[in-house]
């Protein structure tokens, strides 16, 4: 049984979206800006209105409010609570659920250790670096022991080295804890390192779902270019076949790729 299933989802972005995320897997949803990636996560989280059905472990979630869906959500801008220190940020979900102080302290310390940020527990978000904030946000999302983890382009504001490091750490934590995870991104490097399966989202439609093996095979020829990004087809600079607009190949500094081009065998 899939851990997350979306059936006939319709709203201002999607016309009839169907999608399954298998239990314990990390599904990467790839797509250009404006494809509906964040909206997709918001639907799973119950943060936006939609028609259709969202199921977690076969149970419909549509009538269940966000705060009762038991999800961990890593927002694009992280959305740490600026008025709480790291310890309180991570322990927030336990506090609002009325857990005992001892239980909360034990769980929070465990997560801080896991994310290697124990030494930061008294600091406030404004005094943290980008990578540290990322770790705090992930620890906070995991504190609820969520059924599903939703990651919304969490590496956007980080440098390449920090990005690599955190990708590995998040992947390791996700595997260790076995949490079903949906990770949306427009960055191929992030996708390649993180995903078990890959769904390609464009213009509010899932165009293709592929396994890790096929994805690596297809993207292998482009491995030398770590800056490969998805973008609007109309701006493709390497001969995109999904648009009739003629491209000026000579003017491109570095090649970029649009979705259908990458996914062509």
């Amino acid at each position: 049984m899939p851990a997350i299933e979306l059936r006939n989802i319709r709203n201002y972005v999607f016309s009839n979206l169907n999608m399954k995320v298998l239990d314990g897997e990390l599904l990467v949803v790839l797509g250009p800006n404006g494809a509906g990636k964040t909206t997709l996560l918001n639907i799973m989280a119950g943060l936006v209105d939609y028609e259709g059905t969202v199921l977690f472990d076969g149970i419909p979630m549509d009538k269940i409010s966000t705060n009762e869906r038991h999800i961990g959500y890593l927002f694009q801008n992280l959305a740490l609570f600026p008025h709480l220190d790291v310890f309180s940020n991570v322990g927030y979900s336990l506090r609002v659920k009325g857990r005992k102080k001892e239980e909360m302290a034990r769980k929070v310390n465990e997560l801080l250790r896991l994310m290697k940020i124990e030494h930061l527990k008294c600091r406030y978000p404004r005094n943290l670096s980008g990578g540290e904030k990322q770790r705090v946000a992930l620890a906070r999302a995991l504190a609820t022991s969520p059924k599903a983890l939703l990651l919304d382009e969490p590496f956007n504001s980080l440098d390449t080295e920090m990005c690599k490091c955190l990708r590995r750490e998040i992947r390791q934590v996700q595997k260790t804890m076995g949490i079903t995870t949906v990770f949306v991104t427009h960055n191929l490097a992030d996708a390649e390192e993180m995903g078990d399966r890959f769904a390609v989202l464009n213009n509010g439609k899932i165009q293709e779902v592929i396994s890790r093996g096929i994805f690596l095979l297809q993207s292998g020829e482009d491995e030398s270019d770590s800056s490969a990004k998805f973008h609007d087809c109309s701006q493709c600079t390497i001969g995109c076949h999904c648009t009739s607009i003629e491209q000026d190949y000579e003017s491109a500094d570095s090649p970029t790729y649009c979705l259908p081009t990458l996914m062509k065998s």
Partner: protein
């Protein structure tokens, strides 16, 4: 460095007092109109020793605290409602928008007729003077809270009530405190004015009595007390604001 800063603050005051004393002692203006600083201090001592100053100060203080507390609490509660629920905001905004520009003292004649000339008059005036600025600062603070942070709290299992008390209200605090700080001083100005025109006790009333007796020393003592109280109230809220928000603002 700290001593130097303190001296820099005190020095102008000392120069001002010295000039005041010197000019008054020259008798260019009759001393009953422009008394020297030393006479004012003597009057201050007599007023404190006789208990007159403290009695009147206490009367004013109780009015300020009562009116300010009620106005602030009402402003914060209403502001929370209007900031969080658009339907409340839309319902009340037009009426508050019309009432807000009226200066608190502008209500005095009407309130004299409606509630009479008693303790409730200055308290009501202070309520009106505190309510609107605290209300609008609270609305601004609440509407300014990052929507993503609210969403994050929801995904972490917080109910709407918990989000309000643990996220929205704390993050709106800097704005709420700005309103409180500005209106704390204003409350003193309003109570003095109300006591001058209608109430027989309090610092304002003491000033009016002294005016009829041409007792300029007492008027100056009252003005000095008023200045200190305004400053003390503003500083208190400044201190509280810093204490609560200094780690994260």
């Amino acid at each position: 460095m700290k001593i130097k800063n303190v001296m820099l603050g005190i020095l102008p005051v000392m120069v001002f007092v010295a000039l005041w004393e010197g000019i008054a002692q020259l008798n260019m203006v009759p001393q009953y109109l422009f008394p020297p600083f030393s006479s004012v201090m003597m009057e201050f001592y007599h007023l404190v020793a006789s208990g007159v100053l403290l009695d009147n100060l206490l009367s004013s203080l109780v009015r300020v605290i009562a009116g300010f507390l009620m106005g602030s609490v009402a402003g914060i509660v209403m502001g929370m409602g209007m900031g969080c629920k658009e339907v409340i905001n839309k319902s009340f905004h037009p009426i508050f928008g019309l009432l807000y520009p009226i200066p608190a003292l502008g209500w005095a004649p009407l309130l004299m007729i409606w509630i009479g000339i008693d303790e409730m008059l200055p308290i009501t005036l202070i309520f009106l003077c505190s309510f609107f600025p605290v209300l609008y600062n609270t609305i601004t603070g609440i509407k300014g809270v990052d929507k993503e942070v609210i969403k994050a709290a929801k995904t972490l299992g917080a109910s709407d009530r918990k989000i309000l008390t643990t996220v929205i209200l704390p993050l709106a605090m800097p704005n709420i405190f700005t309103g409180l700080r500005l209106e704390a001083g204003m409350a003193w100005r309003v109570v003095i004015a109300a006591e001058m025109v209608a109430i027989p006790t309090g610092i304002g009333a003491l000033m009016m009595k002294s005016e009829s007796l041409l007792n300029v020393e007492v008027i100056i003592v009252c003005l000095m007390v008023l200045s200190v109280m305004c400053l003390a109230f503003e500083r208190f809220f400044q201190y509280m604001e810093k204490k609560i928000t200094r780690e994260w603002v």
